[in-house]
Symmetry: D2
Subunit: 244 residues, 4 copies
């Protein structure tokens, strides 16, 4: 969902969304070369999110099967991406209905937040794999400083994750831009998020992330997750986020 | 809660928090000049958040009484700030208990997320007041581009807010750093947040934000809120967030 | 919302709801005296909830103003009742749309749960007032047995309530029909509820229940709430629930 | 968790819980035959919930593997039961700490609600299996009356369930004792519940209920669930609930 793929994607699905969206307040005029003006949803509701490919070889992870990774990426991640595109079209249509009760609109907005969180967190999740699990670089030093030791940070990250076992949610290591500090945040589902937090390392604790391989043995999944991490990705996120 | 006030505050409350925190994994050694080493909680659990003063004259807003603003700032905001400091001390102590069940720890982590959201959102909220309500600058242009028109943006922001009337939550205009786009997000309570979203304009829809002045007439409160906005603050946040 | 008032109300609003509901799977045929068959929503979506009047004199409570009680009853309770009736109509209409994505339907179902909880809890809440606050009868004996002493029960009920101060939610004393035991349950908002629990005493901790009279002084509101309770109502609920 | 097994269980684990609970307000005196009085937690915090055995042969279901059912029953259900017993002991201990901040107590109360919901819903879930999936009896007639047709009821029940696919939650057919009506309720997690609703048919949509057999194909799981239902159980629950 980088800027280029997003722009490309918007071309391909704009018509479908325009069909769902009635003309109205949330629809921006688009220049045309003649005849009646075409309308398309405003960018906030354009729904043009495109699938981001896996950046690693899913047959090569240790302790996470290709079947699990592919199911997670194809069904859960892409399912959320399709839902987000659909919801954005519904929002545009709903804004053209002047009489829609706000509480009904709120149901759509909740799903927008839910799917926005799911899409972005899943893209960050898959991007982290393909490494040897060895933490290094400035992020390692920063975690020693923020949590007392790397082991203390890891113990808290794992305990936060295990608090979610058997249900849903994410453990999120984030750089909080506002307090300029590092924290592990607990998220019960895709709608939770640390305000002003930039996610650096995200651990999916929804059961779809591990049940196929590990059943209910969530701690073993967390081991496998940590083992396959590419900390260079986490370090790059940290350096980018903390610089500003 | 800027860096300087935070450092000052940490001096004044560190002893109290250290007393609550048993020595252990989450406690960093602090250099001392002799005798047995002192310990203090690691920065992630230091709890030294300090009160940020109001930056405007609360007797001068239109349609929002001094009594309401002072109650909101003194009780709700500062109550959350004290709770966050307390919870961070509890987290440090809890991490030194090796046998604490993760689900019990999760209860504390939820409250950390809850109070972190409350403190930061409230500081951003109060910082916005003192203006004439006229949107201008690059943020206005950006909202026209993202939502079709400024009126279309405002209609969606207000409807998102009204979906929360009678309960709790926030309407949050955010710059999403990851998708590089502007959205109004719905938040049911302080734990909800748009992942990778930088809040630009935050509208508190908890009943404590308006009930004293408006009873259940939430729409009139939203009018007053919009009327007193200093859009230069919102514009500065947008320019800072979108530059990176 | 007893059976009789409900039946009366259904007559008066059925047309409005029928207009919103497209004919389809969720619509039951109603016998007519001739011509084309009329349809009306099935009872599950009929929306005919009617306002239950206050059973006490709102000018006579101690420490809870008539203005607060009337605002609470007219705006918050009746607002939820209207929303529930509206949502049930929307559900009927949505079930006739075969292509509606389930996640969109889920937004309506969440609101149905939300408003069902709000309507029923508010009716139970107002029904409790008008007494002298003295607990007596079999419920008092049962609380002594379940919690060690009446004071121990009350301390836990109050602490559960105060955990919600500054936000939303309910403290609910319930008879759990399944475990056949008494518990104080914590509810974060109208969607939370103890499964198989019959609510006996419900304490509204939404800020609309007290802010107008007490600002953020939630503990004083809880004092006033307890002071005006008619425990005969609570006792009757307990005897009815525990008998079965 | 019937009355008899509960009483038996209380004998076996009381000591463990008593050790966790400091003497105090939430602890009831227990008669002893001599020496200093023994204390044990009050019944509300006694934690003596005992495992309810499966009432059907898990090797005999169609489309739900023995491995899945056993994992669900042993790990998810029993894990919640152990957590509930643990949390009740923690609540007793916490009530003896006069200085515990209510928001910290609230974290434990949330988990009590969460695990109470999980334990009861899981017991109701497993109790439903072992039939041929054919709805009959008074519950079938009642669903025809409430939803227009059995097919209309089933379509709404399935759509409510599918709204939760990919995450967590329950679809709950309940008899609402207060409104005396039948509804399918949406529950996002174990903490949601229809107030005054008696659950008649509960469909677990947590991914642990199906991922091992069906991956993300939630609709196929719902098919299998419906296929194995013993509607006599549902009918008995309905007759019992609606009689009172």
């Amino acid at each position: 969902m980088n800027d280029i793929s997003r722009r490309n994607a918007m071309g391909s699905i704009a018509l479908g969304v325009a069909a769902a969206a009635a003309p109205g307040a949330a629809v921006a005029a688009t220049p045309t070369t003649g005849g009646s003006p075409m309308t398309s949803p405003a960018p906030a509701f354009a729904g043009g999110h495109a699938v981001k490919p896996l950046g690693f070889d899913p047959t090569k992870l240790t302790g996470l099967s290709e079947k699990l990774i592919r199911s997670h990426w194809e069904n859960n991640y892409q399912g959320s991406l399709k839902a987000l595109n659909m919801i954005e079209g519904r929002l545009a249509a709903a804004m053209s209905d002047k009489d829609l009760p706000p509480v009904v609109y709120g149901g759509l907005k909740r799903e927008e937040l839910h799917r926005t969180g799911s899409v972005i967190l899943h893209e960050l999740y898959f991007e982290q794999f393909g490494g040897n699990g060895q933490a290094a670089g400035s992020i390692r030093d920063a975690l020693v400083a923020s949590h007392g030791s790397f082991e203390a940070w890891e113990a808290e990250f794992r305990r936060t994750a295990m608090a979610l076992a058997g249900g849903s949610g994410w453990a999120i290591l984030a750089w909080n831009q506002y307090t300029r500090s590092l924290h592990n945040y607990w998220a019960w589902d895709h709608t939770n998020g640390p305000v002003t937090g930039v996610p650096l390392l995200v651990l999916d604790m929804y059961e779809h992330a591990f049940h196929m391989d590990y059943g209910t043995a969530a701690a073993k999944y967390v081991d496998a997750f940590m083992h396959n991490l590419d900390w260079a990705v986490v370090d790059a996120r940290y350096r980018s986020a903390s610089r500003t």
